[in-house]
Amino acid sequence: MTGRARGALWGVLGVVALLGAWELYKFLGPAAGFVVGATEGETGSGVMLLPRTNDRAMPHIWDMIARLGASASGGNTPPLYVAVITAGLTTLGIAAVGWIIGIVVGSFLGAVMQRWRLAEAGLLPWIVVSQTIPLIAFAPIINTIGTQASRGSAFDWPQWLSVAIIASYLSFFPIAVGVLRGLESPDRMHLDLMRTYAAGYWQTLFRLRIPAAIPHLLPALRLAAASAVVGAVVAEVSIGMQGGIGRMLIQLAGQGSSDPAAPWGPTIGSVALGLVAAGTVALIGLTLKNYRRGEQTA
């Protein structure tokens, strides 16, 4: 058995173990949880040491699976899993656009910061700060700018573009940092060598800095892909875009009390989406393995 197959096997085992632990805890744990230090008559006081196991908090795995097979919203709507996949693909497409915007913006910023140390000193702290602003604080602003832009001009700014831009707000960050570090990564010796060849900035960029940056870029791209998906889901919720998995999440969450297995469909879907996005980028990375040869030797 190859190492990869063994790895996959352990991975599957890990997932099975988690599902087993879920059901085991659900079986053994207290339905209403275990609280210590609660004050009599004071709702919500005390510390909950063991979480609740009732069906609203922890539906059975098989109920979640069965729910995936049942109609999404009653009537003659398609099965939930079909709805999850359709919505998931919508979100994935938007996240992909957000990812690409993030790559363009992040690469530009990273390259500028690498080129001019002064730019790095001036911009990097703000780029870090930018990530401490919650998306939800400005998502509606982006949406408004979008609707105003499409009203004033011939360009029709679709709502998904706002979602993509908001998603790119999360994805540009790892790219900018990765590009900066990556373009900085060539050995001094290699840079000297390019100088002895009287190579200019662009030649050095394309022949040396970019290839050398690839081992830094691949994890950055992967992280950015996962971030773009998370960002797209949150943005959909925030600006109320229809059709994606984010919207599906809150709509089904509204039925969480009477139909507790339903929200797990889009929850699982959104996780799968992130994994697919990150996994796809990882696959792209495999095609660049010649550029990662330095990783073993260095």
């Binding site: 352990w10 085992l13 922890m58 911009l123 990097l124 889009p266």
Partner: protein, 257 residues
């Protein structure tokens, strides 16, 4: 190592200030001078006024969110360290955790918070803390696991040659080697934890904290008050980031030779 370090100290300090002033200028231009921004984006002056006016309630809510973020960070870090130690020791556990950690890394807070609130009770801060903990878990786990594997062969040989016990090897070599990685993880996790704790407030739990306030006031036409709270959130994130960054600098001061 880092090119920026070669700039004179005052430039490193002045450059971000200049950029900040430029951005502020642009902001003022768009909002106050051209009046071209959506209403949801208030003038910086209005925000500053609100900060001054509502300083008391803002800091109260900051304390709540910061506590959630800190406790979540601590909890997530402890669990991450324990699991990373297990994964570093037993390959199969590493393999089993890999897909779960990958999944945790991409689960959106929107989906997570209602689940955790229902499991742990919507009237305690614990749901939010656990959201912060889960968000902080990933970077700490990944970095600590990497750190635990960074012991150099020459050091391992040395300890074996010194007939060190497994525990001695761990405490003398493995742990100190992993420490800078742990701090890198903590630094990344610190801002993630703040964001997570803050955003979690949007999706239920006690009606307090920065996130609740941002949403409340953003939705009632008080954009400048909402942004005053956003500034509070940034302050928490930056404070944690700076503290953990400083710790990291302190620990990584000794370059490996």
């Amino acid at each position: 190592m880092n090119a920026v370090q070669s700039l004179p100290g005052w430039v490193r300090f002045a450059a971000p200030v200049v950029v900040g002033v430029l951005m502020l200028g642009l902001w003022v231009l768009v909002v106050d001078v051209l009046d071209a921004a959506p209403r949801a984006l208030p003038s910086p002056f209005a925000i500053i006024t609100e900060i001054g006016l509502r300083f008391g309630i803002i800091t109260e809510d900051m304390a709540i969110t910061a506590t959630n973020a800190l406790l979540g960070l601590a909890l997530g870090a402890v669990v991450a360290i324990l699991l990373a130690a297990l994964a570093a020791t037993f390959r199969p556990i590493d393999g089993m955790l890999a897909p779960l950690v990958a999944a945790i890394a991409v689960v959106p807070i929107v989906a997570l918070t209602p689940i955790l609130n229902t499991m742990f009770g919507a009237s305690s801060q614990f749901g939010r803390m656990s959201v912060a903990a889960i968000a902080a878990f990933v970077p700490v786990f990944v970095n600590v696991l990497r750190g635990l594997r960074q012991t150099r062969p020459v050091h391992r040989d040395l300890l074996r040659a010194s007939a060190a016990s497994p525990w001695q090897t761990f405490s003398v070599l493995t742990l100190p080697t992993a420490l800078p990685y742990l701090l890198t993880g903590l630094r990344i996790a610190s801002s993630v934890a703040v964001i997570a704790a803050l955003v979690a407030e949007y999706f239920g739990g006690p009606a307090d904290g920065i996130g609740t306030a941002i949403a409340t006031y953003a939705k009632s036409g008080r954009a400048s008050l909402a942004f005053a709270y956003v500034a509070g959130g940034i302050a928490i994130g930056l404070a944690l980031f700076l503290v953990t960054g400083l710790l990291e600098r302190l620990v990584t001061r000794r370059r490996p030779v």
